[in-house]
């Protein structure tokens, strides 16, 4: 079999313990999802770092472009009224 077919790249997400979200740990190559899970177990959880693993083939992830960060994220900057500190309350109201 000479025509080379490389194992695709997978992104690995690990939940370190119940109650926490899955977090991106890194990536690895594997022939299919099942092998990606097995490899992820060996590469990223050799010391009990996880209780659950997700694998996603990297090509299926759509990422935002940092060059468009302006139009993407700046609109939130002038919306201070979304934060509690925007509202004036008398000091007597201690917790709200």
């Amino acid at each position: 079999m000479s025509d080379k077919k490389n194992w695709p790249l997978w992104e690995i997400f690990v939940r370190s313990k119940n109650g926490l979200e899955h977090r991106h740990f890194g990536s690895l190559h594997a022939a299919d999802a099942e092998m990606a899970l097995e490899n992820a177990r060996d590469v990223y959880t050799r010391r009990n770092e996880g209780v659950s693993i997700w694998v996603v083939e990297s090509k299926n992830i759509t990422a935002s472009n940092p060059e468009h960060n302006g139009e993407m994220f700046e609109p939130a900057q002038d919306k201070v009224y979304r934060h509690p500190t925007f509202y004036d309350l008398p000091d007597e109201v201690k917790h709200m």
Partner: protein
């Protein structure tokens, strides 16, 4: 993009790094930054992969089950470290295949320390204690380097590396406290690994071509000579503690500097090994390329199996 625009972006880029901001894969970066990082990260990954070979040599001959499980775990960690670093490197737009090609064709370098042979069991002790010790000194500052994926990989690597050094020192300690023949083995291993370990921290500052730019990008935080001094100062008392002698007649505590003075390093030997004339260069590449080529049918079979399974699933769905 015009030259002026690029210049502008470069200025902004350098300012971000100076502010300790991290650079992430999709961010704009100067071509030189990308290339330098690919070079350093891949060299680092290759070193982890080739670094498994001198130790793999002793797995089947480890003197006890305790030593064997530890050595197996250490070698497996090194495979893992290689994989973290390769995937971090791939975020810069180079494929795993290209990276392997560069290693196998000799275009990319790996740490020259792995071109020395591991001839006795005591070498497993010396490698863990000295080689991993020097590696840690090199690597800890990289946990704060400017390129996000590299820094994150290094945090994991450093966390795992400390067991490597401790298990090596424990081996040396046990031998040094054993029968005279065992102590001799330990001393002999120290004699052979001491100088190569010092060289591992890189050429002297005057000779090092990459230092200045690398400092700016936080790929380096201390110069090679500073790192070497740190390594010597921390290792000499460890040798004394287990009754071994550092093979350097010029080694002497300098009260004024609060550091050890040490003898001349044989840089000719270093450059010979870097250029491929070390005792094990050919052997290491042969083993590595052999493993890769002999594994090809397994990789192909796994891919064929995955495709077949996928096709079966699609057929069932119709």
């Amino acid at each position: 993009m015009s030259e002026e625009q690029i210049k502008n972006l470069e200025v902004q880029f350098e300012a971000r790094i100076a502010r300790d901001e991290k650079i992430e894969p999709k961010d704009w970066m100067p071509e030189k930054y990308r290339k330098t990082h690919i070079r350093q990260m891949s060299q680092h990954a290759h070193s982890e992969i080739v670094g498994m070979l001198p130790e793999g040599n002793w797995i089947t001959r480890a003197p006890s089950l305790r030593r064997k499980v530890a050595l197996l775990a250490k070698v497996q960690d090194e495979a893992g470290h290689g994989l973290y670093l390769y995937s971090a490197c791939e975020t810069l737009g180079i494929s795993r295949d290209e990276l392997y090609d560069q290693l196998h064709s000799g275009k990319a370098k790996y740490s020259s320390i792995f071109n020395y042979p591991t001839v006795t069991w005591a070498d497993m002790g010396a490698v863990g204690w000295l080689v991993d010790g020097a590696a840690i000194i090199n690597q800890v500052p990289l946990c704060n380097t400017s390129y996000g994926p590299y820094a994150r990989a290094m945090v994991r690597v450093c966390k795992e590396e400390s067991f490597h050094q401790r298990q090596g020192y424990e081996i040396m300690m046990k031998l040094a406290n054993g029968a005279p023949e065992q102590k001799e083995l330990a001393q002999d291993a120290l004699n052979r690994w001491w100088w190569p370990s010092l060289m591992m921290l890189g050429p002297t500052d005057a000779e090092s071509i990459h230092t200045e730019q690398s400092m700016k990008w936080k790929l380096k935080r201390k110069s090679n000579d500073d790192l070497r001094q740190q390594f010597i100062d921390q290792t000499v008392p460890q040798a004394e503690l287990i009754g071994l002698t550092i093979p350097d007649p010029d080694l002497k505590w300098n009260e004024e500097r609060q550091s050890y003075d040490f003898g001349e390093i044989n840089w000719d030997e270093f450059w010979q090994v870097v250029k491929g004339h070390g005792p094990m260069n050919k052997e290491r590449m042969k083993a590595r390329v052999g493993a890769w080529e002999e594994g090809e049918w397994v990789r192909d079979a796994a891919m064929a199996h995955a495709e077949k399974k996928q096709a079966r699933k699609q057929k069932q769905a119709i």
